[in-house]
Assembly symmetry: C2
Homo-oligomer: 145 residues x 2
Amino acid sequence: MHEKMIKKLTANVDFRVTKQRKKILDVLISQDQHLLAQNIYEILREEDSKVGLATVYRTLDLFEESGIIKKRKFNGDSAYYEINDEHHGNHHHLICKSCGAVIEVDELLPEDIEERLEEEEGFQVEDLCLQMYGYCENCQKNSDE
Amino acid sequence: MHEKMIKKLTANVDFRVTKQRKKILDVLISQDQHLLAQNIYEILREEDSKVGLATVYRTLDLFEESGIIKKRKFNGDSAYYEINDEHHGNHHHLICKSCGAVIEVDELLPEDIEERLEEEEGFQVEDLCLQMYGYCENCQKNSDE
DNA sequence: CTACATGCAAATCATTTGCTTGGCA
DNA sequence: TGCCAAGCAAATGATTTGCATGTAG
């Protein structure tokens, strides 16, 4: 259990930090990557810890509202969740249309993009999300055959 | 019916251009904005033209595979579809977390972003999608009260 | 103690599929 | 006149909700 990290992330929340919620957060921290609700559910179930799938969803919603995690939908049906803190910095996702792989890439955007939108459109940006769909290295090779 | 535009968009496709498919494409052209499958279904139903919802979905899939339209999921559950041609240029979406409004903004990204990814990651980008979540002008005002 | 959280099962919503009938090439 | 497409109804899969019970503060 990443007790310290969990404490830090939940320092200012207005909900109870129960053992289920800690475990779910712990999985997100340990895996350190985008996960489906289903993934989290299965990982917990392989341990002693059985948490209901409904609880996983309710908890992820709660975490998202508090800004602890980010929720991402790629074009498929299900949502991915990932920790949102400075150490995990801003990154973007490449999604392979052929094999479905999701690859993370570092920040690519101009620094001033959020400010520009606030000035030009009066829109207050809280969260920014860049996704690119295409073909990963492997799938490009395989389609040559 | 935007016959000319429809002909142009379907010039090189390998499926039949039936009257239902024309009508669906026509709605997308006329409305000239992101629409839900449900929206298209309802618009057609108000006209003489009754097209089944399943047909709408099947057709949208087909159009997307052919590159005629783009499919976009914002964090909600349902997908939006919009015409994909040069005249509708690259644009991005601002999504208001409070009222749900979806606002289009013009291209903001550096020109070379796709090439950089191809060089640096070996990933071949076909489609790029930038979404920003936050609060629109109106909702900022209203929350001041 | 008591309000808030969990677990399970049932409900919901968008989307997909099976299958029969219709219609374009 | 053979295939692909449409329409409807039923199936699916992710997510949500109702409700009785458990538990953190």
